[in-house]
Every structure is written in structure tokens, then in C-alpha cells.
């Protein structure tokens, strides 16, 4: 679909822009915090819209289920394949065919560049949860190419 490809291309251009030498202060370390922040702002705003027709969430797990189903379907046209939790504020969301990674060759060829393509989505999840009053740290883990795991650590005060 046309609108999907526009989103994908814009996303990869944002990453290319963020990785330009002038933005990384000459250091070898790649700085993806800008991309993560863009995701955060988008997630925060989209959440207000998505939860409009939704009954009030019962608890945190209910909210995570919403992220896995409706939120993911809205953005990536599929649901999260696996949700696991230790019931103490750690959630692991596994997507077996993460859309930003499906265009690359499967396996290990581009594995070192994979973190660039998940930073935006980490921010997206964090922003969405922040608007629902859940402060969290979201990290991603890519082991073999099209599949990706997102770890959500809920911060309790």
C-alpha cells in the first residue's frame, strides 16, 4: 500500500539524517536519541487518538495487551506475536517479522545496523505509555534479522 511505503522511506531517511557526521559530534558512537525522541512525540500524540473509543484500562497488563494488538496493528498492520511478563513491571514483546527489518536479507548480514531501525519504535512505545501515565524504559534486542524483541521496564516511584 502506498501510505505504508511512504512511512517506511521517511523512517529510513530520518535515520540517515540522524547519522550524518555533523549530528554525531565526530565521535564514532552513533547517536540515536534524536530518532528515539521523534518516536516518543509521535507515540504520545497517537495514543490520544487510539484510545478514544476504548473503555478505561483495568490495569497495566490490560494496557500492554492494547499495545500488542491495536497499537501495533495501527502502525505495523500486524499484531505482536508473543507477549511475556514477570508480573513485576518487565514486559517482553516479540515480533517475528518486524516491518522495518523485513526488507533486509534475513540472517546476520546487516545485524550490526539493526539497532538503528528499532530506535524509533522504542520511542513510539515509550511515548504511548507515557501518555497513559506509565513511565518506562524501552530497549530492543535483535538476534536474527526479521524478528525483534522489545523489553519494557516500567519505572515505579
Amino acid at each position: 500500500m502506498a501510505d505504508d511505503i511512504v512511512f517506511e522511506l521517511l523512517h529510513s531517511e530520518i535515520i540517515n539524517y540522524a547519522l550524518e557526521p555533523k549530528n554525531t559530534n565526530g565521535s564514532k558512537e552513533v547517536d540515536l536519541s534524536v530518532v528515539e525522541y521523534i518516536g516518543f512525540a509521535a507515540g504520545y500524540k497517537i495514543m490520544e487518538r487510539l484510545t478514544r473509543e476504548w473503555p478505561r484500562f483495568k490495569d497495566e497488563l490490560d494496557t500492554m495487551k492494547f499495545i500488542c494488538t491495536d497499537f501495533w496493528t495501527c502502525i505495523y498492520k500486524k499484531q505482536i506475536d508473543n507477549l511475556r511478563t514477570n508480573h513485576q513491571g518487565v514486559y517482553v514483546l516479540q515480533d517475528n517479522a518486524f516491518r522495518f527489518l523485513t526488507n533486509f536479507s534475513n540472517g546476520h548480514q546487516y545485524l550490526e545496523y539493526a539497532p538503528r531501525y528499532v530506535a524509533y519504535t522504542c520511542g513510539l512505545i515509550r511515548g504511548g505509555l507515557a501518555n497513559l501515565c506509565i513511565n518506562s524504559i524501552v530497549t530492543a534486542e535483535v538476534q536474527s534479522m526479521p524478528s525483534c524483541k522489545f523489553h519494557i521496564h516500567v519505572q515505579r516511584t
Binding site: 473503555p55 478505561r56 483495568k58
Partner: protein, 155 residues
Amino acid sequence: MAVCVAVIGKDNSPLYIGGIGNDTSTDNELSRQWLVHTALDALEERLATTNANNATASANAARTDLRDLYLGLLYSTDTHKIYGYVTNTKIKLVLVTSSTSPSGSNIRDAEVRTALRRLHALYADAICNPFHLPGDQIISQKFDKQVKSLMLNNV
């Protein structure tokens, strides 16, 4: 229909308070603020009981209603009726109608519900303005105009 509507943020700070009407008592900012803030305690009380009921996990039919975003009539005084609505993102929408005017005395619950749902839609649009930072007051003139017409339009 409505004489005043307000959008209250997550930390109970007012994001937007707007009012209309020739009724002088509600036409000034101070009394509007007062009216809206008297309702906040009632609103939180309503939310607390909702959570308590859910915790006991009673499998009654009313439970689905308790999860409704619309909270109904919160508070009524001699001159005004105050209705509340809380979004999933903890934004509180408050609508004040006059109970003295002939049109205000026989307002149906469904009308208020529709008005608050539309206000929620307007708020969601205002939030998507890239110049708006989360937690800031809403200063968009477009939003103001749309809310004013919502208040005048009898839903």
C-alpha cells in the same frame, strides 16, 4: 447548551477553560475556574470507586459501565450542573450547564455524552498540533472556535 467547558491535565492543571453566555456569573474567568475545580474532587472520588469495584472483580453487568469514559453528572448546585469525562490518558473534561435557564433544565444525558465525546475528538486533534507541547495550555484559536460552536450548537 453548555455555559462552560474545561480541559484539565493529568496533574489537575487547567489546560483550557472556555465559557460563553450572557449569564454574568459564569461569564467571568474566576467563577468558571471555581465551578470547574469544585467538580474535581467529585471526579476523583468517582474514579476511585471505579477502580475499587474493578479490583474486587465483581462479574456484574454494571462493570462495563464503570469502565466508560463518561462519568455522568458529578455535581449540581442551584445554578449549575457539572458533568465529567476522563480519558484513558487521564485528561479530565468538564462540562458545566446552567440549570436555571429553561433550556438547561431538561438536558438529556445522551446529549451531554455526545458533546463530551466531540470535545474529546477536538482535544485529540489539538494535541496533534506539532506546535503544542504536552502539558502546556491549549492556546489554539481553532480549538477555541470549535469548542465555542460546540457549546452554542446544542450538541
